[in-house]
Structures are given as structure tokens and as C-alpha cells.
């Protein structure tokens, strides 16, 4: 097996360039998919026979919720890589992921609450799924706060990595909470392998929206990681060269 691609990608300057090339594509694809998903979902799809139009929140809620979990896993994995191989790139990715994940967790919570009012008659119930998702938000906030508290970026990233790894236990709790506890929240139907249990003209826009959200997250994380790398490497030669290349003030310090 040839690992040179891995090492090359792992070096900050080549990742910076790679991310710079990939990010616009991801962003563009994400926007296109989102446009289709939302148009098909919010305009074309027929209203639900029970929920009427309220069900349309699903096109925001489900992607946001799914992404909130995936990003946490990504963050913890990046953290593990940062700890084990002391890889600067992984640190940057981890630090970049946390705010994106936190935003989508908050979005999932808010859309869920807005949906809960018509469905359950209350914005908030103390239900396993809901509370676990709230805890997920706290974990993201913890990582962000811990990182901010450190002066030294590398030490901060490593501390966050440890925290993120321990917090990983919450992810299965969120996902399986609907099965482990009797919950008001509906069980997995869409995000299950095999045959989805909703009609196709509702499902396809949802899948498009899901993919779009992943693309947009990827875009955001790549861009944030780029910034993070620039900040961390501001005294290295490649950043200086980049700065002169871009014609900006060559003084970055």
C-alpha cells in the first residue's frame, strides 16, 4: 500500500491547497442539491394526510439532526488522529468541526421544538432523544469552551481531543434512545438501511437535502480548517509565501 498520498495530504500546505480546490465544488454541489431538495420538498411534495404542512420541517430537521451526530464522530476521530500521530492537520479539522457541529445541533433542537408544538402540544418534553441531543449540544459547547480557554493552540487541541473522545459515548445514546426508552420521538425509519417507510415523493427530496447538508458541512469545515491552519502556521514560510503571493501585506505576525 502506498501511503505517500496520506503523508502529502497530512502536511498543512498541501492540505491547504487541496481544500482550496475541493471546497468550492462541495459548496456548489451542496447548494444545487439543497435547491432541488427544498423546492421538491417544500413546494412539490403533497401535504401529509395527518400532519398537513407541518411535516415539511422534516426537510430541515432530519438533515440537521443526522449531521449533528456525524460531525461529532468526525470530530472525535480527528481528535484521535491528532493525539496519536500529533498531526497538526487533524487538530485543525477537529477545532474547525466543533462550531459547525454545534450549529447544526442547535438547528436540530430548534426545528425539533418547532415541530414538537404542533405534534406533541409542547415545545419541549423531557424525553430521552431530546435530552440526549441537548447533551450533545453541551458537549460541543464544552469542546469549544475548552479550546478557547487554552493559550497554546496545540495543547488546547489535544485537550479537546481527549474530551471529544470521552464524549463519544453520547452519540449511540442519541441514536438508539428511541429504542432503549419508550420515547415520544419517532423511531428510525428514514435513516435505516433497507426500505424506507415513507413515500417516494417525500423521500427523494429528503435524501437530496441530507446529501446537500453533508456537502455544505464539508465546505464549511474545509474552509474553517484552512483558516485554522493559517492561524496556527502564521510564522511558517509557506504562509508567508502565500501572503506575498496574494499580494496582501506580507506582515503576518
Amino acid at each position: 500500500m502506498n501511503w505517500t498520498w496520506f503523508h502529502r495530504l497530512g502536511s498543512p500546505p498541501s492540505f491547504y491547497r487541496f481544500a482550496g480546490r475541493l471546497a468550492p465544488w462541495l459548496g456548489g454541489l451542496g447548494l444545487l442539491l439543497l435547491a432541488y431538495g427544498w423546492y421538491a420538498g417544500l413546494v412539490l411534495a403533497p401535504p401529509d394526510y395527518q400532519q398537513k404542512d407541518a411535516f415539511r420541517i422534516i426537510y430541515v430537521h432530519v438533515p440537521a439532526a443526522a449531521v449533528s451526530l456525524s460531525l461529532y464522530v468526525l470530530m472525535a476521530l480527528a481528535g484521535a488522529v491528532a493525539l496519536i500521530w500529533r498531526m497538526k492537520l487533524a487538530e485543525a479539522v477537529m477545532v474547525a468541526t466543533a462550531p459547525v457541529g454545534a450549529s447544526f445541533t442547535a438547528l436540530a433542537l430548534v426545528t425539533g421544538m418547532l415541530w414538537g408544538k404542533p405534534m406533541w402540544g409542547a415545545y419541549w418534553v423531557w424525553d430521552a432523544r431530546l435530552t440526549a441531543e441537548l447533551v450533545l449540544l453541551f458537549l460541543y459547547c464544552g469542546v469549544i469552551g475548552l479550546n478557547a480557554a487554552f493559550d497554546d493552540a496545540r495543547a488546547g487541541a489535544r485537550a479537546c481531543a481527549l474530551l471529544a473522545i470521552v464524549g463519544l459515548v453520547n452519540v449511540p445514546i442519541v441514536h438508539f434512545s428511541v429504542e432503549w426508552w419508550n420515547s415520544l420521538h419517532q423511531g428510525s425509519t428514514i435513516l435505516k438501511f433497507g426500505k424506507p417507510a415513507i413515500s417516494a415523493d417525500m423521500a427523494w427530496p429528503l435524501y437530496a437535502g441530507l446529501l446537500a447538508t453533508y456537502c455544505l458541512c464539508g465546505h464549511a469545515i474545509l474552509r474553517r480548517a484552512q483558516n485554522e491552519l493559517l492561524l496556527r502556521e502564521r510564522n511558517t514560510r509557506w504562509v508567508r509565501e502565500l501572503a506575498t503571493e496574494l499580494g496582501g501585506g506580507a506582515r503576518v505576525s
Binding site: A122, W126, D127, A128, T131, F138, C141, I144, L184
Partner: protein, 221 residues
């Protein structure tokens, strides 16, 4: 006057430096309420009856957590002895520190109480007494707590002592505060307990800074 402004500015600057610090007491408040609700049966309609107690105890503990640091760092790095030497009116300094503590940890809690009350199932008309009570009660927490922090600042492990000394002193505040909400829930007059709270607050604001200043002077030996 200038000295007080300086102390106040320093507290705010410190909070701004430790970037996310001012976020922590309200976050703690939210988390305690969450953990508590998680410890109960899901969707328990009874929860609303306990909401006042949960919110008040949560607010109390959130304020408690940051109290220990009120004077400890100043004592450890020598700022306190410089203040003593500088002949600033110590009681005013204590007052300003209490005020800053309330602004940074009490006020966010007051603002958060209404949404959290709703989450715990409190009916909207009962939010008034809750928020008013907390607005009157949290400054009491800051000042009573500050007094105890001053008492324990010189002690080797004052941190352990602090909460145990604060809690009994604070009990009346919690009784009246939570009592006011409960009175509202039972359709009784929610005003009377609030008047008591206001009285406690007045007493606290006028007397405790002097006592705390004496405690600080004493702490040096």
C-alpha cells in the same frame, strides 16, 4: 469613585479575557436543570410543581460555583494586600465586586429563567413571579456569597467550606423565592414573598459589604 470604576472595569476585563467564562454559570444552570429532569420520569406532568425548587436551587448553585474565585485569585497574586495598603474604602470595593459578580453570573440566570421555566412546564402566567423573584434573589446570592468568600479567603482549603457556609444563609431567599412561584401556581398572592425578598435584598446590600470588608482585613493574618 474612580477607584470603584477601576475595580469594576477590571472585573469585566477579566471576564472578557477568560473568553467563554461568563457563559459558564448560565450554561451550568441549564445543565443542572437538564440533568435533574433526566433523573425524573420522562414527560412527568408533576414536574411543573417542582419547577420553582429546581430553578432556584440551580440558580443558587450556579452562583456558588464562581464565588470561590471572587477573592481567591486576588489573595494569591497579592492584589488583595495591595488593596489593603492602598487605603481604598474596602467596603465599596466589595460592593463593586459583588455587583460585577451579579452582572456576570446572576443576570444571565435571571434572563434564562423564563425559557427554562417553560421547558419545565411552568405556565406562562407564573413566569412573572419566577423572574422577579430571581431578579431580587440573585443579588442576595452574590452579596451573601461574597461575604462568605471574604470570610474564607485566607483559609488553606476555604473552597470546601464556602458552600456549606453559604447555603444555610441563603435558605430564606430560596424559601421566599420559590414560595412566590408556588403561591402563584395555587392562585394565591405571589406578591408578599416578593416583598420579603426585597427586604432581604435591601438589608444585604447595605450591611454585608461592611462585614465583608472587615473579614477581608482579618483574612490577611
Amino acid at each position: 469613585m474612580k477607584a470603584l470604576a477601576a475595580i469594576f472595569a477590571r472585573e469585566l476585563r477579566l471576564a472578557a479575557r477568560a473568553k467563554a467564562e461568563w457563559l459558564m454559570p448560565p450554561l451550568f444552570f441549564v445543565i443542572v436543570v437538564t440533568v435533574f429532569s433526566f433523573g425524573t420520569r420522562p414527560n412527568d406532568p408533576q414536574l411543573a410543581a417542582f419547577a420553582p425548587a429546581v430553578l432556584w436551587v440551580g440558580a443558587l448553585l450556579a452562583a456558588l460555583l464562581s464565588l470561590e474565585r471572587l477573592y481567591r485569585t486576588d489573595q494569591e497574586d497579592g492584589t488583595l494586600e495591595q488593596l489593603l495598603v492602598s487605603r481604598t474604602a474596602l467596603s465599596f470595593a466589595v460592593f463593586v465586586k459583588g455587583l460585577a459578580h451579579w452582572l456576570l453570573s446572576g443576570l444571565p440566570i435571571v434572563l434564562l429563567a423564563a425559557p427554562l421555566g417553560l421547558m419545565l412546564g411552568l405556565a406562562p402566567p407564573h413566569l412573572g413571579p419566577l423572574v422577579l423573584g430571581l431578579a431580587l434573589g440573585t443579588p442576595c446570592l452574590s452579596f451573601i456569597g461574597g461575604f462568605v468568600a471574604a470570610l474564607t479567603v485566607g483559609l488553606p482549603r476555604g473552597g470546601a467550606l464556602l458552600p456549606v457556609l453559604v447555603l444555610p444563609l441563603i435558605v430564606p431567599v430560596v424559601i421566599f423565592g420559590a414560595g412566590s412561584v408556588r403561591a402563584a401556581q395555587q392562585g394565591l398572592d405571589a406578591g408578599a414573598p416578593l416583598y420579603f425578598l426585597a427586604a432581604i435584598l435591601t438589608l444585604t446590600l447595605t450591611l454585608l459589604p461592611w462585614l465583608a470588608a472587615a473579614a477581608l482585613r482579618n483574612a490577611f493574618e
